[in-house]
Symmetry: C2
Subunit: 261 residues, 2 copies
């Protein structure tokens, strides 16, 4: 099932997709909901951020080639993570599918995409074993962990390199029926394929992160976890369009605009 949030005449509503038709619901798709009987063609609605996370988790370095390439860019030695330590991103930075990433005027040219699969938590859990961990997942969506590499190198925190407003596109919807073992992530800039990788080729899996973190942390319905990216990105410039496709999930597409251009 594909859950989405959308707006018509600026009113945000929830619904699910059947083919190209949006079926409008009342209530919370993570909890209790009812069909309203109303439908819209998908082409007639504006797609919104599919969920505002309760807590916004991010795996960070979780694909081997990416770890090596980022270390090179930072002037550091690559070190593969030895345990599934989860980090954070911030909700202010979220935008929806087809909304624009705004590169601040004072950013350097090193603005890059990171195409990621996103896990949406559906159940409150603590202390889950790896084998039970996947039971708490409601569904999956796509994220672009946009990064300014110069700030990532110079700043003490990720507040602007990763969390500048508009730097976290997420969507277009949440898919509940998804087989990660079959999934391929493909990233395109202006229609040209930059990289393709097996989505499952992570250093630590969903189950690794959930079971390790939940020894200490209670996860709640509506938390999201972004699972990291593979490879590197070219530097993105004004008017570039980035598409992240994960087979079985869909395509997240966003244009990059440089402030003041």
């Amino acid at each position: 099932m594909r859950w989405l949030q959308f707006s018509v005449n600026n009113k945000i509503q929830s619904g699910y997709l059947v083919g190209e038709q949006v079926h409008v619901i009342q209530g919370d798709f993570l909890d209790e909901w009812q069909d309203t009987g109303e439908t819209y063609p998908l082409s007639a609605v504006k797609i919104e951020i599919p969920i505002i996370p309760r807590t916004f988790y991010a795996a960070g370095f979780n694909y081997a080639i990416h770890v090596a390439e980022i270390a090179k860019a930072m002037g550091e030695k690559p070190v593969l993570p030895t345990s599934a330590d989860i980090g954070y991103r911030a909700n202010n930075a979220l935008i929806a599918h087809d909304e624009d990433v705004i590169i601040p005027a004072d950013a350097t040219e090193q603005v890059q995409y990171e195409g990621e699969i996103v896990m949406v938590i559906g159940k409150k859990v603590k202390n889950v074993s790896p084998s039970e961990a996947l039971d708490c997942i409601f569904g999956y969506t796509i994220g672009n962990d946009v990064s300014e590499r110069t700030w990532q190198k110079t700043d003490r925190t990720f507040f602007r390199c990763k969390n500048t407003d508009t730097f976290k596109p997420m969507g277009p919807w949440i898919e509940t029926d998804f087989d990660i073992d079959q999934a391929i992530t493909t990233i395109r800039v202006n229609g040209k394929q930059e990289i393709q990788f097996a989505t499952k080729d992570m250093i630590f899996s969903f189950a690794d992160f959930l079971s390790r973190a939940s020894k200490y942390i209670t996860f709640y319905p509506g938390d999201v976890m972004w699972m990291g990216t593979e490879g590197t990105s070219p530097n993105l410039v004004h008017n570039d369009v980035v598409e992240i496709e994960i087979s079985g999930l869909g395509v997240l597409r966003n244009r990059f605009l440089k402030e003041g251009q």
Copy 2:
């Protein structure tokens, strides 16, 4: 004015304090609200977390002696921060005044307090100047940024050293009339004073953090920013009671319990 959230018979409500009386309101004290006319004696209610932040910001290293002492504990050279780069904490870890901090069974003996003043944002702002920054502050409360120093040293992120469930006591209420220039922070363990410092003696002020971050980040009503601590803490053990008093705000008190003891 002192705003609080409290419960009676497990029902969480909002109100304000006049002397020792809680005046119950309907609505959101950051937005629209009305008096219900109902009151309770403060002693008859359970104090709850005063606000669940929209985004939970933390200044980190923001008092000079603390920077030096933590560097020593981490086996690193002390480096004073050169810009007001803001970090993050996570809502799962919040508890209220008088609730217990639970130290996980596998934590080392290096569990410590950090007593901090907390700023609560009341207005949506972007790109504020230092001179206008304070206008977006709704009020102030107290936080204890409980930290497990061994995990802080060994882990790649702060997910468990700072964000283990119960590691972020906050409260007891939000005070809107507060003069930081007059305020003194006093920290006591089991009634014995450990440290006392002028709350305002920060490396970067509220205005510094807000104006720098808001060049990139939109702040929203309900965001909180924890402003860092001074000095260091003894290692806390089972049954220790930590009180953080900030003059003009009140006292945040929490007992520490070791899991399995």
